[in-house]
Amino acid sequence: MRLIEWFSEICNRSIEISYVIATVFLLRFLFGKLKLPKKYSYYLWGIPLIRMICPVSFSSIFSLFNVVWRVPAVRIQSNGYIPFQMQEPLNITGAGSGSTASIMQVVSEAPDHTGYFRILLIAYVWIIGILVLGLYSIFSFVRMGKMVKTAVRREGNVYECDHIGSPFVFGVVFPKIYIPFRMEESELRYIVMHERFHIKRKDHIVKLIFFFTAAVYWFHPLVWLAFCCMVRDMEMSCDERILVELGDDIKEKYSMSLLAFATNHRMNLAGPLAFGETSTKKRVRNVLNFQKPKTWIAIAGVLLTAAAAVVCLTNRKKDVTQAPNQTEAARKENIMDENRENRVEKLASVKRGEKKVSSESSKSVHAFLTKWAEAFCDRDADTIVSFSSDIVKESLEENEMLSKDQGGYTFGWSSPWPVGEGGYRILEEDEKRAEILYYAWTSDPHLTVWRESLEFRETGEGYQVSGDSIEELQEISSLDEFFKAYPGGVISNTMMDYEANGLGEFLNQNAEGQKESAYYGGFFTPEWSVRHLLNLSQDEALVSVEYMEDTSSVSIQFLREGAMISVGVIQPYGENGIWIPASYSGSSNLLAENEEEGIFIYGLISEEGNRDKIKMIIGEEENDFDCDWGYVGHWNKVEVYEKTEDGLPKVFAFTMLFENTGTSEIWRMFMVNRNDSGSYDLAEFMPKDYMAQARDMVEFVIDGEGVVKIWGNGKALEKETIPPESGSSVKAVLLDNLAFMNADESGLTMSLAVGYQENGKTVGVASHPLVFKVEYSEKSEFVLKDVKSDADRFVKPWPALSEE
């Protein structure tokens, strides 16, 4: 996996590098026209070199990447799904243009692993290339070392050496100058001077570093071209230096030496030579035409090189054209908030039973999906092909699902394959997308679930599938995968119900006769049977399955994420029969609790398999609420804020983990209030409702010395110094952005986004996590009471100014 990540990084960078090298060539051409000394051209090559090596760079509004393009990303995902998205190419005009043209957009590809292995293979080829070049270099180095061993010292670090045609520097730490025997004394003077200058300037090391960097990008012709031109510029700048030192008089003589080295009379067996005709001629011409640079030219050279470095070494400042007043950090937070709100809205609409699809079109969509799924199960290639866009056809062919021969197309393979009635289940659908489950099986009584995500569009004649990806869920190792295969965690009365689908009976008969076999014997233990029949990963380090006798269930734990789900188990063929998985009927999907107060909140799964109800047990009372819930296995304490006269909890709040992607967790907070009639009201706590209160409590003050103080409760909470370049006219503004992060006994943690503005323009954004103590007021709402800084979560301001 690491290898592929490195490879994709290098691929992405290669594209950037191309532009940088192209820019350098352009500038180099310009420098040539301006007759700038060659050393500036040589320095220019430092830019692509740094760009190739350095992992990070700074963003600036002067970046080349602002104007020219947005780097098309080649994203390689871990599941082998490889969308090569080339979006937003060459947006030359830059400013104000949000329109984008896609060169190529593969909507989606089917998910089998051939694509992944292909990338892996290419990555191996890449690594092997690097190794070959590395070995080649070591070999050459060793050979060279042998060659110069018998070189005879002439003076200092200058050695005369047999078998060489022209002078050079060899060695890294203690470099020596090697010259051929029998050089003229007068020649020797400037030749040695030339090589000494190389050493002084550390050219031999630059060359080595550049070469090994190029070896990493060995597949990139421009990089090699850059290397060659860099070497040429290096030599020419050295030539020029000698002319500056020794005067114009030696021009002809120096040129003759260069020519002599190139046509070398000593040379008999040389293969393709390094100093080919072009470079010798160019070098000679450069020497002959050289004039001592004037001061203003030197200044121009320095300035142009520096400008080039700023333009090429910095990254695109994010979204300068689209949202000049909004920095990346703020934008991200907004998106997060929007996503959350969208989801909550979506959930709410589902709860109300609204369907957005009009009945007429939904009918035809359903008919189309049914036809598709049936054709899939029947392996009806003609129908599949007629419904598929070219891209989908290609991706199906790539996955070897679809193949073409003389007789036309064939689709799928004989086994395992979803067959017959009940081979599929259409899960969700709207006008553009659908999720379909397929139950694939071999001749054995065992089912595996495939989940297909379809994207389609309406054409004049009907519908066409424009994107298709299929996931085989046969090594389930996360809750997410579990719910993908078994929506809502429901087993009973689905195709996976081995009692209802009839396969259980077969299994039972087979197992009865072979109780001793390792395979069939396993069905007599609920843990083994559930793991096997629900296609959970066999790896004990990823999934643990434990039988709970008292609730006749197994508890499945996905150890990587710490999530848990309960699945019921039944023994439908008698006490000595096999165990098979069933829907869980109890209520152990704990979401939050407070043992002392006797409050337990569980997630319930509806008959349709939706996780949209929660059960709240308060002492002896049970209350059900319509409320979507997400993860189990992580729970917090229920905080009681107020009690009734009878000692019953009156106002309390709890949080639950709604989504856990592994990298981000989304928690939701709910508030419960016991009304006069004795029933409970449930309301979700939304951070934005508390924005006004937070604004009143927190103040940002910037003093004359550029120190920002964050005030709350009449005391300074945090202190931050504004970077000096920002000037003293900066103002701090609380942005309309408050992200809810956590709730526990210490209070609510909310992240305040603060924008630093200068003349109405945002120059920086900081995220300040502050912990608010909350109290429940008489008006049935939470009040922020006290605030303190959460230093652990503090994100330093000015991210937009200092680094990416």
Partner: protein, 121 residues
């Protein structure tokens, strides 16, 4: 009279030997280090090589001359270095850029260019 031929570095070594022979091999290592900048191993390798060629003899750690100075001439060695991190580009890069050995004709052209420049001044 026909001369025996040695490459330059061997010839330089022989000069040291002629000047000092007969000489103890340890002493020769020191002399070579001083005059040629050679390492011990380089000197010993060369002693061995020239013994085999019959120029010198090494018995009981004493090096003696077998062939007189008058019979030997230094000859320029053939040029066959594959240049790597020395003077210029690795070979495959030169090939990659299509840079070939400079031709007689091309050399003439450059020569003419230099001459022209000389005459102009």
């Amino acid at each position: 009279m026909e001369y025996l031929k040695l490459c330059d570095s061997d010839y330089r070594f022989m000069q040291v030997v002629w000047k000092n022979a007969p000489v103890n091999s340890g002493e020769l290592v020191r002399l070579c280090q001083e005059e040629l900048g050679w390492k011990k191993s380089t000197t010993y390798t060369t002693i061995k090589k020239l013994c085999q060629k019959g120029y010198i003899e090494n018995t009981n750690a004493t090096v003696t001359v077998r062939i007189s100075r008058e019979r030997v001439q230094a000859e320029e060695s053939e040029y066959f270095v594959e240049r790597t991190f020395g003077g210029s580009l690795p070979q495959f890069l030169a090939a990659f850029l299509g840079e070939k050995t400079i031709s007689e004709k091309e050399a003439e052209k450059i020569k003419a260019m230099i001459d022209e420049h000389r005459n102009r001044e």
